[in-house]
């Protein structure tokens, strides 16, 4: 029991993969001993659900053990792995990681229930992939070593590619190839950046190390203390260059605007479980990487890039909205919509103040919830009709009232209607954007109207209007399993909308620590940095918008 408490985070991370391994081993045993083909699919399914449910319970236990009053990382667990190379197993969580862990651990069982009996092609492999994916995501969110992060990150990409490529829709191979192509390009960029940082850290600390902060009992320099030059030194060692590398690497997953080419194909073709999970294991992880590694390690470059990044966020918001409006495929509408949401998140992150960044983290959670709900519902619909074309639907509120209500709720949450969860995150991000630059805030408000256009369009075309197609007349409403999935999404959507403070209380200390870390790297900051970090600093009033 004591060991469990001591290694709680590790147990949490490894639980899904261990479940997968156990099921595999049992399968082997069954094959040897009883001459079965493997474990029955039912056992795999139940085992996978059980494993992910246990993981979810462990995540809840972690939530209880986490002390929101303390700043810094908690539940830190450390194990030397390749000490000579500085590659440690080093995990720990702050409020942001905690929420991401909770979210992942919550979404996986829900996604499994959502696709319950519908996986026909090699179902055992499917469950194996999902479980490995979960461990990868949990590990990445808890990693305090950049290499470990990279390792877990990679162990998400491959199962995700398989999920799309094997269990996806008609054009799955193309979509999977695209996803993997983009992802490997991003990984390469990330790897390059990591190596540069590795070398810089070695030059300065004399030991190979990629720990985020010095690990317990280690003399080596954490990468948070690595000095990354702003102007001096080799061009490839400067903050600006590293920023670009990391930005491409993480931005590919977010996705930032010109790097989003994979998103709609992947989300449209992915099986329902993949679509539900991608917002957290892909998109949120990219944004998390920006927040965890890029901002504190490269503060000067990040601060200098603020105008560009605010622009990128705004363009993502507007461009994603426009693309969503032009789609005729229900899943692609939601996919581009989620790109627009991530644009808003980037806007919040790079407003570099408490409100914007807290809102951005909260919005990552919210986005995963309402986008997950939308994809789950659309998945139920597509499973019934076998098509994703908008024109094939219409008037479904009559045969499927529960579905209609669920879709409406998820759409309204997504377009930011109070008291649903989207509103709080959006309001905080806007607040941050207004503090960074009021005109960017005004632009984001205007861009937000587009969300109402495409979501209402989706809702009206699917659910309202006359029942024109005879195929839709006999549609069966959601059954109890599907209702369970929808309820599982609706409860947190309502809860966060009405009472977000428990989450905010955990995000905010982490965000303010991050802002302090950025400020603390004082030796390299450009003169305007304290000003850009806004809320904390004394000298915060920019000339021209002070009291007149």
């Amino acid at each position: 029991m004591a060991a469990l408490a001591e290694w709680q985070l590790t147990v949490l991370i490894l639980a899904p993969a261990a479940t997968a391994g156990l099921l595999l081993a049992l399968g082997g045993a069954a094959r040897l001993l009883f001459d079965l083909e493997g474990l029955p699919v039912r056992v795999w399914r139940a085992g996978a659900l059980l494993g992910s449910a246990v993981t979810a319970l462990l995540a809840v236990a972690t939530w209880w053990r986490f002390d929101p009053e303390r700043s810094g990382h908690q539940l830190v667990e450390h194990l030397p792995w390749l000490p000579g190379l500085g590659l440690h197993y080093f995990v720990g969580i702050d409020g942001i990681s905690l929420l991401m862990l909770m979210l992942t651990a919550f979404l996986v069982p829900v996604a499994l229930v959502a696709v319950w009996g519908e996986v026909e092609r090699s179902p055992r492999t499917f469950f194996f992939c999902v479980l490995v994916l979960e461990t990868g995501a949990l590990g990445a969110f808890a990693s305090l070593n950049l290499f470990l992060f990279f390792f877990f990150w990679q162990s998400v990409l491959l199962p995700m590619t398989f999920l799309v490529g094997i269990w996806g829709g008609a054009h799955r191979i193309e979509a999977a190839r695209r996803f993997f192509g983009f992802a490997s390009f991003g990984s390469l960029s990330l790897l390059l950046g990591m190596l540069v940082l590795y070398a810089l850290n070695f030059e300065q600390g004399g030991a190979w190390n990629l720990d985020f902060v010095p690990s317990p009992g280690s003399e080596a320099l954490g990468i948070l203390q690595t000095r990354v030059p702003v102007h001096t030194g080799e061009w490839w060692q400067t903050q600006r260059w590293l920023f670009v590398l990391f930005l491409v690497g993480f931005g590919m997953q977010v996705p930032l605007v010109p790097l989003h080419g994979w998103l709609a194909d992947t989300q449209a073709e992915a099986p329902t479980a993949g679509s539900i999970l991608l917002p957290v294991v892909g998109m949120a992880m990219g944004a998390y990487g920006l927040l965890r590694f890029v901002l504190p390690i490269l503060p000067a470059a990040a601060a200098a890039a603020v105008p560009v990044m605010l622009g990128v966020g705004l363009v993502g918001l507007v461009y994603g909205g426009l693309l969503a409006i032009a789609q005729s495929d229900v899943k692609r509408i939601v996919a581009y919509g989620s790109m627009a949401h991530l644009g808003l998140v980037v806007l919040g992150l790079f407003s570099l103040n408490r409100h914007g960044m807290t809102g951005a983290v909260l919005q990552l959670v919210n986005h995963a919830l309402f986008t997950g709900a939308l994809f789950a519902l659309l998945g139920f619909l597509v499973a019934r009709r076998g098509t994703r074309e908008l024109d094939e639907f219409g008037g479904l509120a009559r045969p499927m009232p529960v579905f209609a209500t669920g879709l409406g709720l998820a759409a309204f949450a997504s377009l930011g209607l109070p008291p649903l969860n989207g509103f709080v995150g959006e309001a905080l991000i806007l607040l941050g954007a207004f503090e960074a630059d009021p005109w960017i805030g005004v632009g984001a408000l205007a861009g937000g109207i587009l969300a109402a256009v495409y979501l209402l369009w989706l809702w009206r075309r699917v659910v309202l209007g006359p029942l024109t197609r005879p195929e839709n007349r006999g549609m069966i409403d959601l059954d109890w399993r599907e209702k369970l999935v929808v309820t599982a999404f609706v409860i947190p959507i309502l809860w966060i909308g009405m009472y977000p403070n428990p989450l905010l209380r955990r995000i905010e200390p982490a965000v303010s620590l991050l802002l302090r870390q950025m400020e603390a790297r004082v030796e390299i900051q450009p003169p305007e940095l304290p000003e850009m970090l806004g809320s904390e600093s004394a000298a915060r009033r920019a000339p021209g918008r002070g009291a007149g």
């Binding site: 005109w439 408000l445 256009v453 309202l464 009405m498 009472y499 905010e508 809320s535």
Partner: protein
Amino acid sequence: MVSEAVEVLWLRVIPGLPLLAALVIGLPAALFRARPSRGLAAGVSILAVAGSLGAAVLAFARLVGEESPRQLVDLVSTWVGVGVGRAIFSADLALCFDSLTAVLVLCIALLALLVLVYSVGYLEAMGRDDGGVARYFCYLDLAIASLLLLVMADNLLVLVAGWQGAAAFSALLVGFWYSEEPNARAANTSFLVGRIGDAGLLGATMLLFWATSEAGRPTVTLRTLAEHFDEISGLTLEAPGGGVWPLPVVVAVLLLLAAGSRCAQFPLQVWLPRATAAPAPAGAYLHGAALVGSGVYLACRLWYVLAAAPGVSHAAAWIGAATLLLAAVFAVAQTDLKKVLAYATVAQLGLVFLALGSGAWSAALYHLVTQSFVLPLLFLAAGAVMVSLRGREDMREMGGIRSKLPRVHASTWVGVLALSGVPPLSGFFSRDAVLAAVWGSELAGAPVLWGLAVAGTGVLTFALFRMLFLVFLGPTRMPPERRMTLRDPSDRLVYPMYLLWPLAMFGWLVGPSQFWGDLLVGGVQDSDSLARFVADAVPQTAVSAASGAWQRVGLHVLACLLGAAVAVQLYLRRPDLRLRLTERLGWLTRRLVERPFVDASYEHLVVRPLWRGARFAARRGIEEGLLGRVVLGGGARSLRFLAERVLRRAHDGLAQTAMVAALAGVVFAVALLLAGEG
């Protein structure tokens, strides 16, 4: 410091009860398909709203007994809180009940009660159950709760929540009979136009917070804002293209956007006439009074922002006057009964906007309050007509049904007379208060504004009488078999209207201006009791008993009489004249009715460009063309080129190629080493 307000813990009951009713009705229906009967759903709703009204009356009584500034507050729970010290953003779910709130809460709750009673009969008579009774009462209760939350909000974020909630449930009610495509579209339009206003309100909230935190007092609490607005009114924003914008101007523009979209002001009026797709009682309540009134509430609540931006409020006055005239003209051209009323509503709101723009806050409020009972009366009467005609709304197929529907006929008369401003009824006094304020205002072009407004009221009067005559009087234009089936609506539809009669006729007694107070029997001191009552929230309109008061009143009455007289002449006495006239002006009415040019310009200026832009971005232009074909395709091609032409060569399996490659490698390594030495 914020002046200490009295804490009253049961204020939450007022918006809470309708919310609770909605949950009681909606949850079982959503989860277990346990649909409550019409009687049960209505009973629960009516009880809840009656409870709200009772609590509101108690709160009102409590408020009257308080010292000035009279405020009751109730902190329900924390909501959003981020930051510390000077950057704290904190918005709690807190309610505040002050004089302005009291007036609106009482109106909203009282009207809601009457409308709910009417709804029972209406839904029954329409016979289009759709399994939607629970849905109807659930949405309506939620709309009522949202509106109550809106007017009772203690801070801007709660206000935003109520604001958006009310719009959403209103849109859901517009699309209540969703199986008909036009209704679904109308719901969409009304939500989208509302969304523009939502963005404005949210932007104003954010800017006010930004400004207060710049000034070292971060807050979104309305009471604090009202007290300390002068500290931030000097702030400026730097425009992107150079130039400096005073903060109040930007905030006022955003607020105007919000209030304008809510009050259906030009050019955002498109949604209200379409919103008539809502069931009649819901439309009467939301689109005739309560929902659209929330825009006026917003302007009154934040009057100090508008007052600090005189240019913007001046624009509001012009927008209001233009809307009034335009909507009145549109009302004349309609053939759909409910659309006439919708445009009449828009026109009345134009007048209110004119008052707001001229700084006559209390006059605007006064007019809003009196109209809140008149317009719903007319909407309910129209609903009763439709029920009798089995859902038909086209006035060209009505006429001469006075004898069949005497009670509805009488109600419509009361409404029309009160709305068109016949002197002893309420429309006259409140409108006169607005017109007097414009008459006496210092605005540039005030006489023109006044003239526009009077002309608009004249045209509106004509439109209303035209509607009355077309529907009830004259020869019938109905086919005989439908005439036979015509039935008088049930008592449940009629009695709520009767209850509205006195309110519609004598609602003006809540506070006529002193000018009229002096003329009342014996002369009433301080007759403008409404304005006095809300004076600690909204400044009183100072109407000078300036010269020419009687000319002003005379011209106003004359315009209305003229409108009525023309209607009598054209629709009762000389139908032949009307026929000739419509023949001549047919092209004009067609423009106004079949494809109102405003709608058409929306289509051309907003919808199509957006649609084209989206398609361009997605297809040929950027996404598939530039990013897809050029960047991605180009990248893929060059990779393939590399693989096929270069790398494949190296792996052709021939020994000599491998030798050459190995040799090249060695040379390269040696060169690298030598370079390192050097």
